[in-house]
């Protein structure tokens, strides 16, 4: 099969991979189909739930019906005697045979003790917290016996919102903590008071965000199989982070890592949900070891809606000079992060403040953030990871100051965007923006989005019946999170092997939740060796055969796992080149690897098949290949040079190495009578540096946009007065469906990252915050003068109707 010439994948400033130096870029930049695509369309992919073997015990979990209480007596006798039931476990049982779950950030960072057990041992902290596990031979029997478990509760006062959590002398969400404040951050740059005094115009506002959840189509599932004779545990699960999960299990079970194998089969989406730290990960492992039988937990959709996130309030103020330059921005953030569990979801609240003032060059910045714990379910990771709310608040602030200045908000953006030559650029939080080219991206967007046409349609619409709104928004998405001291340590590792027949194997610590990074990694490794992506097999999600790393979070897979694979592949390539040089009587530096052959650069007739050079190494280890290091296997870890964990002169670290951005435009229509919002048109320009596979990047970006539109308009977790999740099915937590969305038009811009060997930045998460922001700005625009009162996301009809009434009066 001939390898076609590289196609231009993207508009923008540079040829794909211009400086990458990995050889001929035959595959990077090409929109090739997914690896294993046939298996997907034939229905032959097995997800975790497909691997529950006959005879596996099933768990149903009895969950707290109260937001805050001490657990009294638990009577499991009736449940234990129910049909099919094998055992009923409580927190006391778990405590007798295991250790607490380690938290993803060190426990000493919390203001009080954090002994987290997979079944609540004493105090329950939210409605839905696991209290008892009913294990039965079938899921139906386990579920049926749940209601027979009797639990006595001693009620404690629940803390159900941030205001109550911060009220002096108010109730405590955890009885043994002295405060509800989990963490604070204070970010300062410049002289705020002076800037606000000197300002030509200032304006402030408040924006609050409802709770959201990731809701992947595949619910969570864990299958534990303890081999008692070998003292060995195998856990299959819906896991983004198999190595951190093994780390967690080793501590809970008191085992060595070598006694545990964690396998992450293909996942049906995660969007942050399936990071390490869910109680059921530990629970099934404990149950299997105690019962000496395989045990599976399969999450119900209702349970999946216990994953909470994002509820927060921002109070901000922005100042500009007479030329429209933003000279100051300040913001106070209060986030209600729910109960603290073993996972790191609450960390999202501490990412938000670090993103300001996003893509704008603002000399004076102050951000104060506080995260409080309450008796709502714990935050779980969700796409955006806190960056989305920062972008939305910044984009609202820009709109508001534009109104005060009497300028178009597009012009205000132009006057304040960081110019290309300003990079690398230090944000007030210490984050070091790697590169960007923002203003030309805005120009590119205006070519894609017919602004004048939409303004005309807006004028022509009868504003008492339908209102059209037009919005713009930038989105800056820090990617590749690397938090010091945590199990998000920020490096990834790949082992590359060239096998005797000349095929290549990459075992990497990054997992694939469905975005297709395995295909992208195969493309970049194929280019190193001049092979086809089909010649490269990617192995992921098995702690026995993949090296240690964080897994799949923060769009790190190609950026870190791919980079590690390229570093390893380059070293192997030099070994194969040494052998080929002997066979061809040439110097290694003269050799080019392309189309499955190794040829002398100046003399294409002198060549040897790649397979033959490899075979020679394997079969002539004492002669021709005597000087070539064996095995043909190299393991490399990639650490980004743009991560800095040593505090700078302001005491700040930089925990994200890569800063993809996008700029969005949307036109929406609000039905005045019903407050239903329809998205009429949507366009965006996205820049994630060098694009390895445009189809994969575009697909994920469109998915992020769809999710952002949902988060702006329809998706909200609601809690009743007792703290119970009211929105527990897709009928009440409303995801976008196909007819709800317009076609999302997008273009690329390519500003390679100077810090990453391939020039790539994170892709996959990026775009979500921009979509939330652009819809918010479009709704405010539709409300005209009254748009300044927009102060709550999402815009469900009950919140939009009063705003519409205000706009009409």
């Amino acid at each position: 099969m001939a390898i076609p010439e590289q196609e231009s994948a993207a508009n923008g400033t540079g040829p794909a991979l211009s400086h990458a130096g990995v050889g001929t870029a035959a595959w990077v930049g090409r929109d090739i189909p997914r690896k294993d695509a046939d298996r997907f369309v034939l229905g032959h992919i097995d997800y975790t739930a497909d691997m529950i073997a006959p005879g596996t015990l099933r768990v149903a979990i009895v969950r707290s019906s109260h937001a805050h209480a001490r657990i009294g007596r638990i009577d499991t006798a009736a449940a234990s005697a129910a049909p099919g039931v094998v055992a009923v476990f409580t927190g006391a049982d778990v405590r007798a045979c295991s250790a607490p779950m380690p938290t993803r950030v060190p426990r000493e960072r919390f203001p009080g003790p954090v002994d987290i057990w997979c079944l609540a041992a004493d105090e329950v902290l939210y409605v839905g917290q696991p209290i008892a596990a009913v294990v039965a031979t079938s899921l139906n029997d386990a579920e049926a016996a749940k209601s027979l478990v009797e639990i006595d509760y001693d009620m404690l006062e629940p803390v159900l919102d941030a205001a109550a959590a911060l009220a002096p002398g108010g109730a405590l969400a955890r009885a043994d903590w002295p405060t509800n404040v989990v963490a604070r951050d204070t970010i300062r740059q410049g002289d705020l008071d002076r800037a606000f005094q000197a300002a030509f115009r200032t304006v402030g506002g408040e924006i609050s965000f409802g709770s959201g959840t990731s809701a992947p189509m595949e619910p969570r599932c864990y299958i534990a199989d303890w081999d008692d004779r070998a003292s060995h545990l195998t856990l299959h699960g819906t896991l983004q982070q198999p190595h951190p999960t093994r780390w967690m299990l080793a501590q809970v079970l008191g085992l060595r890592e070598a006694q545990i194998r964690v396998v992450a089969p293909p996942a049906g989406g995660t969007f942050g949900l399936k990071m390490v730290g869910h109680p059921e990960e530990a629970l099934v492992a404990i149950l299997s070891r105690e019962l000496k039988r395989p045990v599976a937990f399969l999450e119900s959709r209702e349970e999946c809606f216990l994953a909470n996130a994002r509820e927060q309030t921002h109070r901000f103020e922005i100042a500009a000079d007479a030329q429209g330059r933003i000279i100051a921005f300040r913001n106070t953030i209060v986030a209600d992060v729910g109960a603290i569990g073993a996972g790191g979801g609450w960390v999202m609240a501490m990412v938000t403040p670090t993103v300001f003032p996003t893509v704008y060059d603002v000399p004076n910045v102050a951000v104060d953030a506080v995260a409080v714990t309450t008796n709502k379910p714990p935050w779980q990771g969700i796409r955006g990871y806190g960056k989305e709310t920062a972008n939305l608040v910044m984009e609202r602030a820009v709109e508001l100051i534009a109104v005060e200045l009497g300028m178009s908000s597009i012009e205000v953006r132009r006057r304040n965007l960081l110019p290309k030559q300003a990079f690398p650029h230090r944000l007030p939080s210490g984050l070091n923006l790697d590169s960007g080219d923002y203003a030309p991206a805005l120009d590119q967007l205006l070519d894609l989005f017919p602004l004048d046409e939409w303004r005309q349609r807006q004028q022509d619409a009868d504003s008492n019946d339908k209102r059209i709104g037009i919005g713009f928004a930038f989105d800056l998405t820090p990617e590749g999170a690397s938090f010091p001291g945590s199990m998000q340590a920020g490096f990834e590792t790949s082992t590359v092997t060239v096998d005797p027949t000349g095929t290549v194997r990459v075992a990497t610590s990054v997992t694939s939740p469905g975005g297709g990074n395995e295909t992208g990694i195969a493309q970049i490794v194929a280019d190193v060796f001049g092979l086809l992506p089909d010649d490269v097999t990617i192995i992921q999600g098995d702690t026995d055969i993949t090296p240690f790393g964080t897994g799949n979070t923060s769009s790190r897979s190609l950026m870190f796992g791919g980079a590690a694979a390229v570093l390893a592949a380059r070293e192997l390539k030099s070994r194969v080149a040494a052998c080929a040089a002997t066979l061809l009587q040439a110097e290694p530096g003269e050799l080019v690897f392309a189309q499955g052959r190794i040829c002398v650069d100046a003399d294409a007739d002198r060549s040897v098949p790649f397979k033959q050079a490899v075979s020679t190494i394997y079969t002539h280890a004492y002669s021709i290949a005597a000087d070539i290091e064996l095995p043909l296997q190299v393991i490399k870890t990639y650490r980004s040079p743009n991560i800095r964990h040593v505090p700078d002169e302001f005491g700040r670290i930089s925990a994200y190495p890569s800063f993809p951005y996008s700029v969005h435009a949307a036109a929406i229509e609000i039905d005045v009578a019903t407050a239903q919002v329809r998205v009429l048109d949507y366009a965006a320009i996205h820049d994630c540096g060098v694009v390895v596979n445009p189809g994969l990047v575009e697909g994920q970006f469109r998915g992020a946009v769809a999710m952002g539109i949902g988060a702006a308009l329809w998706e909200e977790l609601l809690y009743d007065e007792s703290g119970a999740t009211r929105t527990n099915r897709f009928k009440s937590y409303v995801l976008p469906r196909a007819p709800d969305l317009p076609r999302i038009r997008m273009g690329h811009r390519v500003t390679p990252s100077p810090f990453q060997p391939l020039g790539t930045k994170g892709a996959g998460e990026s775009g979500f915050g921009g979509a939330m922001s652009v819809i918010t700005n479009a709704i405010a625009d539709a409300l005209g003068e009254h748009g300044r009162h927009v102060n709550r996301v999402p815009f469900k009809p009950d919140r939009l109707l009063p705003l519409l009434a205000g706009a009409l009066s």
Binding site: G268, R301, G703, P739
Partner: protein, 168 residues
Amino acid sequence: MSRPSIDLALRLDHRDVVAHVDGRALLIEAIRDLGARSARIGCLTGDCGACTVLLDGQPVKSCLVLAAAADGREVVTLEGSASAIAETVRRAFIAKKGFQCGYCTSGMILVAIDLLEAFATPTEADIRSAISGNLCRCTGYDDIVSAIADAAEQLSAKAATRESPEIF
């Protein structure tokens, strides 16, 4: 101990199968236990469409059907779906990247096949309407819509080729 159980006989992906199942079982649970794993469980409330199968030729959400109600009937899942249209739709889903995680794909493809069997030239709105009962969280639907539109075009082109001798 009295758990209601029933004997179930049905034709599943062109094979006659019999099973002894819990009387409370849903069709999706029964067929997955019988090995038809390409039908996925996403919600069990009829909202997501991941469990879509053809029951006597009609697409149904198999979480909304009791297993007992399928006795004596024919069930086809994605794995059993084989026709020229099915093959064209599958190829189009690969070419247009009509899936990411793949969890909704079984339902999406079966619904697309059903649409194109009934209606050779759907508009984009028709396609979006046809898949409105199936949730996808990865793609934002554009690539799925493109895949189905692409399959429709290919099928129309093939049909035109076949018909052309009569036209001219």
